[in-house]
């Protein structure tokens, strides 16, 4: 089992005809993902290495029965792409694009909630999602993940997600699903969405959560873990020593007005019974201990 996506998930790549879309779309197909179509209003009727291109998601869904999409559209076009996917009947939208204006993110988040409450958006500015051995949507290198279980991973950071997958693979620990929620101020999918899904997934028995400085998403997740989760969680928070007022790469990774510090997040997580590592390796070791005791 897995969460959100599995071997049956059919995916449309919005922006498959662009260089990034083509590169990762074909890599994802090689991994085994059902890449059933792409969209580009100017190239409808053409194909990318045999994958048909449609004018929009509605036509692509009609022709292929796809339920998921993956967005590789430049930031300026992301708002339209998200709304096109939702209007076209896509239920799970993965947006890889980085650099989307925060106001656009806040707007499409709320428009989706009001008009398409059953649609789930992942990202923007995220590495995507992989259910190892079944489905890989996005830019994660598939071969660094061991399929199976018992661990689910949710992360705000791209490279640290890969690091976590790799550390577990080195320890011969399998992963049900690894979700990169992205480092932007308004992520479509939150830690809590993923924690709740992992709690409900019978094959996931423990969860690794990787956070970073800025905002209060980790504190909210800690609160959820404390009150609603029975499965053990290990965690790592990046940016313990980040200076206040400086954006550390991600738009969302900033300590401002004394809020959003790593220390406060780690404290909240420890208080919720989470095993917190001080670096990614330590978090991996803690997870190995958890898995050994399951």
């Amino acid at each position: 089992m897995s969460i959100f996506v599995d071997s049956n998930t059919k995916v449309i790549y919005q922006g498959l005809t662009g260089s990034q879309g083509r590169y990762y779309g074909l890599l994802n197909r090689d991994y085994g993902t059902q890449v059933v179509g792409g969209t580009n209003p100017k190239k409808a009727g053409e194909d990318v290495d045999g994958i048909p291109i449609f004018a929009n998601c509605a036509e692509a869904v009609e022709a292929t029965g796809a339920t998921a999409s993956c967005i590789f559209i430049p930031a300026a076009g992301v708002y339209s792409a998200v709304m096109d996917a939702a209007a076209g009947g896509i239920k799970f939208i993965v947006c890889i694009t980085e650099g989307v204006p925060a106001h656009d993110e806040a707007t499409f988040y709320n428009e989706l909630k009001a008009q398409y409450p059953d649609v789930q958006l992942l990202g923007p500015n995220c590495p995507g999602i992989i259910s190892p051995g079944q489905c890989n949507i996005g830019i994660t290198a598939g071969h660094i993940a061991k399929a199976g279980g018992p661990v689910g991973i949710v992360s705000r950071s791209g490279t640290l997600t890969y690091q976590a997958l790799y550390e577990l693979q080195q320890k011969d620990i399998g992963v049900t699903t690894c979700v990169g929620i992205g480092g932007d101020p308004v992520p479509g999918t939150s830690f809590i969405d993923c924690l709740a899904a992992f709690e409900a997934d019978p094959d996931t028995h423990a969860v690794m959560m990787i956070g970073e400085i800025g905002g209060s998403a980790e504190e909210e997740a800690a609160d959820f873990i404390k009150n609603h989760m029975t499965k053990p969680v290990s965690s790592y928070i990046a940016g313990v020593t980040a200076p206040p007022g400086k954006k550390m790469g991600h738009a969302g990774a900033i300590v401002s007005g004394g809020k959003g510090t790593a220390d406060a997040k780690m404290e909240a997580l420890r208080d919720a019974g989470v095993k917190v590592g001080l670096n990614p390796t330590e978090a991996g070791e803690l997870m190995a201990e958890i898995v050994a005791s399951l």
Binding site: H103, A106, H143, Y166, E212, M248
Partner: protein, 383 residues
Amino acid sequence: MDLFEYQGKQFFKQFGMPVSDGEVAFTVQEAVDAAERLGTPVMVKAQVHTGGRGKAGGVKFAASVEDVQEHASNILGLDINGHIVQRLWIEKASDISEEYYASFTLDRSAKQHLGMLSAEGGVEIETVAAENPDAISKIHVDPAVGLTREAAQAWVDGANLNPVAVEGAVDIAMQLYDAYVQGDADLVEINPLILTPDNRVHVLDAKVTLDSNSIFRHEDYAEFDETQPRDEREEAAHEKGLQYVGLEGSVGVIANGAGLAMSTVDVVNQVGGKPANFLDIGGGANADVMAGALEVINNDPEVKSIFINIFGGITRGEEVANGIIEALNRVDIDAPIVIRLDGTNADEGREILQPALNDKLMMEPTMLDAAKKVVELAKGAVA
């Protein structure tokens, strides 16, 4: 992108908000000339990207042109929280009856815009929030719906302003929301928003942070980008398009991915070192980007050792290793380098690096080992 006060006021003015007339001055003479054109009394205000200007002596009332001369010469060159004052804003002085506070920002938890308004202006809003939270009237605005005049009216009513200020405050609330949304701002803040003795509501200060991701639809924001405070290292990195934040230490850090770069800074600290910077070279880690990153780090005189921390994902270990070697051939590096290469085809990558290793180029198997080694080198205690 943080705007100077005067840039913020010019920005607000485009949306119809009432701001004072003023001029920018880079020298004492320019300040005097500006005051003569505007007519005294004026305020002489330091333009820096930091708070606490008043306390530091960076904001002065000048009744005469002689006062302007005196204050301008004192304030130019002043160090306010590490920011040296290089420009002044000379502005017509205003009479103040009452001071209020108004702002919009994104509430990340609620995923909606948050407006805050208070009759207790002129002090930091964090202080008001801590000491008298009921004095702040809040409004959540759904970005998909926007701010209606009725909602703005209720929001203003909740702040218990002087009744004569209410209508003007509602106008400014609507204009402030327009500026915030149409301008793609992360923050718009007026502190103080004042009521004058003749009952006008007036914008006396402006703090504006714009979303740099929105530049594609705001071509005029390029001028704001040019006035961002960056030290020499940050400027050089910015020109190369690298994500760089200058820190105070001696260990240069290069990593691929923001999370890994942050994590690398953490680990260097954990083993007793002090990172000189945060530098994210992104996913590719090719020779061009690596060479650019090494140049930036190499130009930092404080750097005593360099930590290259790369995790190969889609980009394979061999490509990363070849990129590093090619970059090292292009840039003459003074400080010793410690590499940690892990992930996809790490073994193949390490094999490529092996023949190039010497006492200036080392490799360690894990992030922690590499951090220990690079900190040792920085401290001059090579084992």
